[in-house]
């Protein structure tokens, strides 16, 4: 967590830069967004994370003014902007394909928003002729601003080239420069990294983060890549089916998902899910296991038990307690190991365990699996999270 954010949390004086209230949108009869609420603090990076079709890009476009909402209101820096034109919202946006003007150099691209603001249309068209002293003064002013920005973005040497002659990283920085040059309070990024290859992507995302920090601008970042979202965000809004399923810090979303859908969507490999039945005192039975949870659910109700792969302890040999499972497949990543497991009488993979060490197991091995009750997450039939009060280590030696 960023220091200034910690500070602002302590002082309880967070300033919302963006407030979204009750935004709904449907295309034809198909609802895309339903009743979205979102508050983003000054200087914060927030990701809108979700699978394709969840409405995250539509929400971003509504914030930018490129799409109109059916209902709801948007406020930026205390100003109601729901009905304003995109150009009047003082929002910066970096598009998926960066959307640089291909016939203008990097410098001209960055300068264009300033020229639009400071000159009339005729001045703009004839500004290269430097006809009047006023235009010359504005041009000098803009040039100085662009030079300054280019230096801060470390693209001084590349800025006079056409976008087609820039490298992917330089293009991206020019696009960010074009977005930042207007002193906007809010930067919207629509999957700006999705066109880069994996290695470049991580580098570019660090650059975005660094630029964001040094300019202190608030960001809304749309992505379908959870690693990206969890890596760069102060907070992540997980969007599923046209709504915000959870809006929290990356760690909280991973450890403390509010619903089964969030738990399933976040985390690679996908969280393990088992069907269980609530027994006496809120304990949960899954097959032979009895999770020593304390759910408030009445006995007999069905629950889903979800366990992150890293919480599945795999022990070889028969001396340990736990259920016996068969190893189906092993992935040894060097730094990480994944063991795919199935019940001895089943063919398909039903369970994935993450071992923090090199894997010595081989397909076909019999292993014993243990899960501690306080690592398990419980969800009701509708997918809502059920709070449990774990009392002590579970006893897996039962039955």
């Amino acid at each position: 967590m960023r220091p200034d954010r910690v500070m602002s949390l302590c002082w309880e004086s967070r300033v919302s830069i963006l407030i979204v209230r009750g935004i709904s949108k449907s295309f034809g009869s198909a609802p895309v967004l339903s009743n979205i609420d979102l508050d983003i603090d000054e200087g914060e990076i927030v990701s809108l994370l979700g699978p394709s079709g969840c409405g995250k890009s539509t929400l971003l476009r509504i914030i930018a003014g490129l799409e109109s909402a059916d209902s709801g209101a948007i406020e930026i820096a205390g100003r109601e902007i729901t009905r304003l034109e995109p150009g009047a919202r003082n929002i910066a946006m970096v598009f998926q394909n960066l959307a640089l003007y291909p016939h203008l150099t990097g410098r001209q691209n960055i300068a264009l928003p300033l020229r639009v603001r400071q000159m009339s249309r005729w001045q703009r068209i004839f500004s290269s002729l430097r006809l009047s002293a006023a235009v010359r003064a504005i041009e000098r002013d803009i040039e100085a601003t662009v030079d300054d920005l280019a230096a801060r973005l470390a693209i001084t040497e590349a800025i006079d080239r056409l976008p087609g002659r820039l490298s992917g990283g330089q293009r991206q920085r020019v696009a960010i420069g074009k977005a930042l040059v207007r002193d906007s309070r809010l930067l919207l990024l629509d999957e700006p990294l999705s066109s880069l290859d994996a290695k470049l992507r991580i580098q570019a995302r660090d650059e975005i983060l660094q630029i964001q920090r040094s300019f202190g601008i608030s960001c809304v970042f749309v992505t379908h890549d959870q690693d990206e979202a969890l890596a760069i965000s102060d907070r992540v809004a997980v969007m599923l089916g046209g709504g915000i399923a959870q809006f929290d810090t990356p760690a909280a979303i991973y450890r403390n998902p509010s619903s089964l859908n969030v738990a399933r969507f976040v985390g690679t490999p996908t969280i393990n899910c088992l069907e269980g039945i609530v027994e006496q005192q809120g304990r949960v039975r899954v097959g032979d296991h009895l999770f020593d949870a304390r759910l408030a659910q009445p006995a007999g109700s069905a629950v889903t038990v979800a366990i992150r792969p890293e919480h599945v302890r795999v022990g070889d040999g028969h001396d340990q307690p736990g259920t016996s499972l068969r190893v189906v497949r092993v992935e040894d990543h060097g730094h990480d190991g994944l063991v795919h497991l199935a019940a001895a009488d089943q063919a398909g993979v039903s369970f994935v365990a993450r071992t923090g060490q090199p894997v010595v197991l081989r397909p076909g091995d019999e292993v014993r699996v243990a899960i501690e009750a306080h690592d398990a997450l419980f969800f009701g039939a509708s997918g809502t999270r059920l709070e449990s009060a774990p009392v002590r280590m579970a006893d897996y030696a039962h039955g």
């Binding site: 930018a64 003014g65 490129l66 034109e85 995109p86 150009g87 009047a88 919202r89 929002i91 910066a92 946006m93 598009f95 998926q96 394909n97 959307a99 640089l100 003007y101 291909p102 016939h103 203008l104 264009l112 928003p113 639009v116 603001r117 249309r121 068209i125 087609g164 074009k178």
Partner: protein, 298 residues
């Protein structure tokens, strides 16, 4: 598969591509290249249609041609015609394309309406225009008279005959230009328009200036060259409506060549003029090729 068959059957596989090209190459040779060679050869002789033998006269024919006042008039009229038709065709095509793109409904209908003149046979349309513009019974002069104007006989006035033919040329060509511009606009990235809106360039003129026109620049270059070549080849309207008159004010390159060859039977002069004409068209085609290559590099 074909290669495999050739290899399994007879002959060397290296021959196969040549065999496949051969029919088209033969046709090209017989119908285009051989006549062209004959024309070029004729241009350097004193041969007239019906004359017995031909003698090589070097550049004499070209010298006579360039000194010919009719040729000078034809060259100058052709330049004027191209200069009138090409810019207006491009602008009209662009304007039509912009209007059609802005249409929410009926895009296909308007596209068809504007493109119709381009697919119609120009010779037939020339007759139709002749009747429309006919000073006594034509619809256009009558309409103008009804509006209280005094139309003159444009096609009989040496000052207005060529511009009138140019208007007909624009009418028949603008649809093509429109189609190219429409195709170009279809490929303009939507994100660029959205970025322009966020930059404060959201209104029609700014969008046109910052996104649409730069995007259409390569296509515009192509349309300019393409319609120049078309305008250079103006013949149908001249041959049907004015026959080069009045006072040779509509005598254009192809009509001059036609007259020299088939009315006056000065075949060598016609051949020399044809050689010059082909050279100019070739120059424009090279220009078009250059532009296409430059676009490929971008």
């Amino acid at each position: 598969m074909l290669m495999a068959e050739t290899r399994a059957g007879q002959g060397s596989p290296r021959l196969a591509p040549y065999l496949m090209v051969a029919p088209a190459a033969a046709l090209l040779l017989i119908l285009v290249l051989a006549p062209l060679a004959l024309v070029v050869a004729t241009a350097f002789t004193d041969w007239h249609l019906g004359a017995g033998g031909a003698a090589f006269v070097g550049l004499q024919t070209f010298e006579a041609l360039i000194a010919d006042p009719d040729f000078q008039a034809a060259a100058w009229n052709t330049v004027r015609y191209v200069a009138l038709v090409v810019p207006v065709t491009c602008l009209a095509g662009l304007a039509a394309a912009l209007l059609i793109v802005e249409c929410r409904r009926g895009q296909a209908f308007y596209r068809m309406i504007f493109f119709l003149p381009s697919v119609a046979t120009l010779a037939a349309m020339a007759v139709a225009w002749q009747m429309l513009l006919s000073p006594s019974v034509g619809a256009v002069p009558q309409l103008l008279r009804a509006l209280g104007l005094a139309p003159t006989n444009w096609l009989q006035d040496p000052g207005t005959a060529l511009p009138t033919l140019a208007l007909i040329g624009i009418w028949s060509e603008a649809g093509f230009a429109m189609l190219f511009f429409l195709a170009g606009m279809k490929t303009a990235p939507r994100e660029l328009y959205e970025a322009a809106a966020l930059d404060g360039c959201g209104n029609f003129l700014d969008r046109l200036w910052h996104v649409t026109l730069p995007h259409l620049a390569p296509i515009t270059a192509f349309v300019l060259v393409f319609s120049s070549i078309h305008a250079l080849r103006v013949f149908d309207t001249v041959a049907i409506i004015t026959r080069g008159g009045p006072e040779k004010s509509t005598l254009v390159a192809l009509y001059f060549i036609y007259q020299e060859a088939f009315s006056l039977f000065r075949t060598n002069l016609a051949a020399a003029a044809t050689v010059l004409f082909i050279a100019v068209v070739l120059l424009f085609s090279l220009l078009q090729l250059r532009i296409a290559r430059a676009q490929g590099d971008r």
